[in-house]
C-alpha cells in the first residue's frame, strides 16, 4: 500500500483525516451500487426479480431470452437487431464525424479567421439545445424525405451529437501542435497535404481516439432520436420495451438487456485504451 508523503508538521491519524476517508468510501459504495444491483437483477429469476435480498439463485436464462426470443408475450422486440443497428449507426456516425471533423478541427486550430470563434461556438451549441425542442420538426422533415428508420437518416442526425465533440476536442490538439514540425516537412520538400498526413495526423492520434470513443458513447446512449425517428432501431429504445405494460414488468429482462447494451461501448473503450496516451482532457483544458 502506498504511503502518503506527509508534509513536515502534519499528523497522520487525526479524526478529520479518518472521517474524510470514511466519507469517500461511503460515496464510492453509493455511486457504484446501481450497477451492482442491475447486474444482480439480470441474474435473477422472474420469481425473485422483485426481492431485495443479496442471496439468490443466479440464472443466465434472462440473457438467453433477451438475445434470442422475440421479446416477451407482451411486446415484440428484436433485441439482436437493435444491437446491430445501434452499432452500425453509431460507428457510422463517428466515422463520418471524423472524416469531416478532422480537417475542420485542423483549420479551426491552425488559422484564426474572422468569425472562426463564433463558428466554433455555434457548433458547440448543438450540444446545448434540448433534443425535445427539435424532435418534432425533425420527424416531419424526415418523414417527408423518406428518411424515417433509415441508417442514412440516423447517421445524419447523430452528427448533432458526435460532430461537436470531435471538432472541439481535436481543435485543441491541433492548436497545441507546434507548427515547426509541419514547417520542417515543407522545407524537406513535402506538399502541405503530405506534411499534414505524415506529421500532424499521427501526433493527434490520442485525440482522435479520445474523441471517437466519447462520440461513440454519447451516440450509443442517445435515446430521443432513435425513439422518434426509428422503430426500436437502437439498444436504448429496445431496452425499454422489456418493461412491458399492463401490470407485468420484466425487470430482470430489462436489466439483462441493459447489461448487454452496455457492453459495446465498454469493449470499444478497452480496445482503444492504448491510444489514449494522454487521457481524456476534453480538449478544453490546456495543460
Amino acid at each position: 500500500m502506498a504511503r502518503k508523503e506527509m508534509m513536515p508538521g502534519q499528523k497522520r491519524f487525526t479524526a478529520p483525516a479518518i472521517l474524510g476517508d470514511v466519507a469517500i468510501l461511503a460515496w464510492f459504495v453509493f455511486s457504484l451500487f446501481p450497477i451492482v444491483w442491475m447486474v444482480m437483477l439480470a441474474l435473477k429469476t422472474p420469481a425473485e426479480q422483485t426481492t431485495t435480498y443479496f442471496r439468490f439463485s443466479p440464472t443466465l436464462e434472462n440473457f438467453v431470452t433477451v438475445l434470442t426470443a422475440r421479446g416477451t408475450a407482451l411486446t415484440s422486440v428484436d433485441f439482436k437487431a437493435a444491437l446491430v443497428s445501434s452499432t452500425i449507426n453509431c460507428l457510422g456516425a463517428v466515422v463520418v464525424s471524423l472524416v469531416v471533423g478532422i480537417p475542420a478541427a485542423y483549420a479551426a486550430g491552425r488559422w484564426k479567421f474572422r468569425g472562426s470563434d463564433s463558428l466554433m461556438f455555434n457548433l458547440l451549441s448543438f450540444r446545448f439545445a434540448p433534443e425535445l425542442m427539435v424532435i418534432v420538426p425533425l420527424f416531419v422533415i424526415y418523414n417527408g424525405l423518406g428518411l424515417f428508420d433509415t441508417t442514412f437518416g440516423m447517421i445524419w442526425v447523430l452528427q448533432l451529437v458526435t460532430m461537436p465533440l470531435v471538432v472541439w476536442i481535436l481543435r485543441s490538439y491541433f492548436e497545441d501542435l507546434p507548427e515547426d514540425l509541419e514547417q520542417a516537412a515543407l522545407l524537406d520538400g513535402y506538399s502541405r497535404k503530405r506534411a499534414f498526413t505524415m506529421v500532424a495526423l499521427p501526433l493527434v492520434r490520442p485525440g482522435i481516439a479520445a474523441s471517437a470513443l466519447l462520440a461513440f458513447i454519447f451516440a450509443w446512449n442517445n435515446y430521443m432520436f432513435p425513439l422518434i425517428l426509428t422503430n426500436s432501431g437502437s439498444v436504448t429504445v429496445a431496452i425499454t420495451k422489456f418493461l412491458g405494460g399492463g401490470g407485468q414488468a420484466y425487470y430482470n429482462l430489462t436489466a439483462a438487456a441493459g447489461v448487454v447494451g452496455a457492453l459495446p461501448p465498454l469493449i470499444l473503450a478497452l480496445t482503444i485504451q492504448r491510444y489514449l496516451v494522454q487521457g481524456l482532457s476534453f480538449g478544453a483544458v490546456k495543460g
Binding site: 502506498a2 504511503r3 508523503e5 506527509m6 508534509m7 513536515p8 508538521g9 502534519q10
Partner: protein, 373 residues
Amino acid sequence: MSTKVEELHGGGALPLRIRNVRKVYRTGKKGVEAVKSMNLDIEPGELITLLGPSGCGKTTTLRMVAGLETITAGDVFIGDTRVNDLPPSKRNVGVGFESYALYPPLNVRENLSYGLKAGRRVADPDKIVDELADRLEMRDLLSLRPASLSSGQKQRVALARALIRKPPVLLLDEPLGHLDAAARQHVRRELKLLQRQFGYTTIVVTHDQLEAMTLSDRMAVMNGGIIQQYGTPDEIFDDPANIFVADFVGEPSINLFPATVVRDGGRTLVRVGADVLEVAARTATDGAEVMVGLRPQDCHGKGVTKGLTGTVFVYEDLLEHGIARVNHPGVPDKPLVIQTPAELQLSPGASVTFSAPPNRIYLFDKDSGVRIR
C-alpha cells in the same frame, strides 16, 4: 515544539546547520536516495550556493530546509532550533522558488506588500516596496499584474518577495535563471549588495557555475546527493578536490587528459606524448598513470619553448581573447582548448606551443578522480 524561530532570536541573522541529512523518496518498493548524507555549516550572514547538475540533490536539500519536504534522517537547525517537524510557516524563512506563485489578481506592488504584511503590522509598506523596487530596477513593474510579466520579470518579483521581509534565512532556487544576460549581471550585483547590507543567511541553488562563483561566500559543489567540495570560490576554482569539481566549474571547461608521471630529482613532471610539463604536485608516484587537468585560461604561449606543441584546428576570434582548439599527438581522442590573448591571431594548421604555471596543472587519480596534491 511549535516555537516560532524568530521569537527566540529577535530577528537577526542566524546560522544554519545541516547534520547527516538524508532524503529517500519511496516509489512503491524501491527507494531513490536523493540526498545521501549531507553535512553543512553556514555562518550567520553568509551566502552559500549549492551548485550541481540537475538531479544532484541540491533542490531537494533546499526544500528540506524550507519545510516543503520531509527529512528522512538527520537534523536541520536554524539557529539553535531543530526545525525538522516545523511546517514552513513557522520556520521564518524567505523563499524565492522558481515556481513560487504570484497572486494573479494582485499587481506587483500588492503582491510585495502582501508578503511584507502577512500577519503583522508594518509602518510604511509602500516606502519599503519602493526602495526594494529601485534596487532591483523594477519600478516600472509595480503597477502590472503577473499575467503581463515576462518570465524574467516574474523572477525579479519573486526574488523581491523573498527579500522584502528581511528574513533571517533566505532560500533562493535558481534566482537568475530566466533573466537575459544584461539583466542577470545587474540583478546578480544588486542581490549580492542587498545580501551584504541586510546580512541574511542565504542559500542559493543553481546549476550555473558562474552564478555560484560570483555570488558565493562559500559554495558546495554537489553530485549524486553528496557534497563533492565545500569552500570559497577561490578554493573551488584554484584547488579542486576531484575531477568532478574541476570539470563542473570554469568556462571554457578544464581540459582533462591522461598522462604519465615522471619524477626528476625534486621536480614532478608529466609526460604527454612526446612533451613534458612541470607540475606542482608532490605526492605523485613515478610512472603513475594520472589524469591531468589544465584550464584553457591558464595556458599561455609567451616565450614558451618547452611545453605542449600541437596544431590548431579551429580558432575562434572573440576579439577580447581567442579560443583555439589544438590537436596534440599525445591526446588522440579530443582537442585541447586554450584561451589566447587578443593579439595572437591563429589560423587552422598553425603550430602552437603552450604551457601553464606548475601550480595550475592539476593531477587526479585515474580511477577515483581524487586530486593528487
